[in-house]
Symmetry: none
């Protein structure tokens, strides 16, 4: 594995900075977390996008949130075909092993994945339709969401689709029997959020008004 | 979707705290990130575990790292079957669209997923072998790694397997043609790390010594 | 005092969040509270337990409740020996200087202190009988309460003892001459509560039925 | 116990409000806290004063902080006389049973207990010198602190004494063998804070400069 390189210096330096400050301040707590295991209160499903910081927005400290991040914060529908399903595995582990109290799906503005999904579904990005495109195949999860926004004026569609991604994921979450059971027994609650990167606002899906409302 | 609930108050309060401090201090930067798009320097593949904080360890600010988090920080092998592959999609997007300079696989101690993998492969957790277990199917990616550590004394096996998870993922990364090409042309470098949660130490895989060495 | 360290960063960030939101919203009120002094309506005696939140349960805003918290929400009997009595001092200050209208003793389920008291009195924790055990000596206040529940079936004893802790404290409160006088003149009323942490229910001691009844 | 009354209606109403909102939002988490026990990260020693809200300042959520509150946030010196010592019991439980990572002493401005201590030590409140005064006997813990500030101009003395109360408490904490041992082995860190109620500022004691510095 000669292709594996040493870490760039800037990352090494940041690590040493963390070790000398945050780690040192919290040594006893980290020791306990290692010895006693994690007990997170919530799972958060967020985008890989470098501009979305769950840990920053919610002041998430070590041990608080179980965080899965994938492109466009998507949950695929329940499919028990024996294949590798990273997102489904994370949800299963959070709900059945860690017994988190909340699953939060956090969408965001200016999402590159959603933009690609829009273009693919609108016929503007045929390369994403190709079987060989992992991004295209992944964003295919959102095709039912696209159908719901396709009649909107073009300039509104992408933003609407970002919010649909949150709703489709929440719907898909409920197709997992262990999620449905936990929700129905009151052990788990589901939440949908959308963050505007530019103005820092946060909207949540309100079941009553069936819309996203600013927090 | 009556099952979707409003966000718990403690998270709402934390968000307002972030908005009034971190966001307000960096408003202009967030505005630019939204308008001009992200330009992350590296992709980090890390575990969902609530005790592992990439953003904390590397002082990751908004816009710096494209972060994918799944159980046990695994990369599955390249498989072009047209199915949903969240991890592969994230890698494809990072390498081909965002053109990150580094991909870092960050493993960690006390990993519940790796422990489950060990027990499954050692025949101690037959339920994980079941086709219906998402965690089991996901951890199956690590079976070749288990074979390499199975001859070790039992008390050393899990920790060794945590490090194997980093190596298996690095090997699998190279099965993606676009990764291999970018590595070979010098546009991309791969890195393997393992973090001890309790003592805060960080080890990196060194190609020369073929071992993990403390940073 | 080289052993005194700076506050961990996560607490500093939380403080800044509070300062920028709750404090800023209520600045004028905090200013008045500082200038004119406190005028709390009630004193609450509660447990140190991190799961019992007087301020949350009663929506207690700044300036409303004078809150004393000790292990197992105990009031020791009136003893005028010139020693340091933190609980007695707090009661004296609340009743004679602040002239609160109510003193509320708030017990709770799953109380570690009460569990220790039970084990000590049942002969299962001899180390707590030791003169050197502060927890043991403190829980000794509850020995009369244990005698009243010791004939119950074992599975009912700890919960019964948690409620006895409220009653013993109320009885001990009346041994303070200034409490008794204030109660008899109608200036002060005493209240006994027990909170179930898990189901969120709250029971109060009703003098008429001589039992705890759900609110 | 005919003197025990039912809870005032305003508190009953607040409880029902909490039950219908905060409790309902976090039901699953409260259930887990009850079943699995508390695991607080820090102990906070704060004043009973109704204007000082640890839970508000640090956004303290259920399960996070073990909170002891007494008059003037004092820690008496280690005394193993077999008497009831509520503060010492709370510290013993937090450090030896719960194994918290931090003990924070939080002082504050406009403290009535400290004002009384000042007046007593300055000969202006002879009634507090009386053996029968619980507040006087409790504040006696602070007499060594008064000696250190008595040469200051009168208008500065009370505020200085409020900060001395934090330092005396930190010094007394170290007289407890189990605290000293935990500090020296790196399992526990001690912190001193002083909050200005009126302007919301927070100062911490910095060992290097031997002074309180704004956070």
């Amino acid at each position: 594995m000669q292709y594996v390189k040493n870490l760039p210096t800037y990352m090494v330096q940041r690590y040493h900075g963390w070790k000398a400050t945050t780690y040192t301040e919290n040594k006893a707590w980290y020791r306990r977390l290692a010895d006693e295991g994690q007990r997170p209160r919530a799972m958060i499903i967020s985008c890989c996008d470098s501009r979305v910081h769950v840990t920053s927005i919610f002041g998430a400290d070590e041990g608080e949130f179980f965080i899965h991040r994938n492109i466009a914060n998507l949950v695929p529908p329940f499919t028990q075909d024996g294949d590798h399903h990273g997102t489904s595995a994370a949800i299963e582990y959070a709900v059945t092993a860690l017994k988190v109290a909340h699953v939060v799906v956090l969408g965001h503005s200016n999402c590159g994945g959603i933009k690609g999904c829009h273009d693919m579904c609108a016929g503007l990005a045929p390369e994403l339709e190709d079987k060989s495109s992992f991004v295209g195949r992944w964003m295919d999860i959102m095709r039912p969401g696209y159908d719901r926004v396709s009649s909107l004026p073009e300039e509104d569609r992408t933003r609407a689709l970002e919010k649909e991604a949150v709703l489709v994921s929440l719907e898909n979450l409920m197709t997992f029997p262990f999620v449905q059971e936990a929700v129905e027994s009151g052990r788990l609650s589901l939440h949908g959020l959308w963050n505007d990167i530019g103005d820092g606002s946060l909207q949540q899906y309100e079941a009553e008004s069936r819309s996203f409302v600013a927090i």
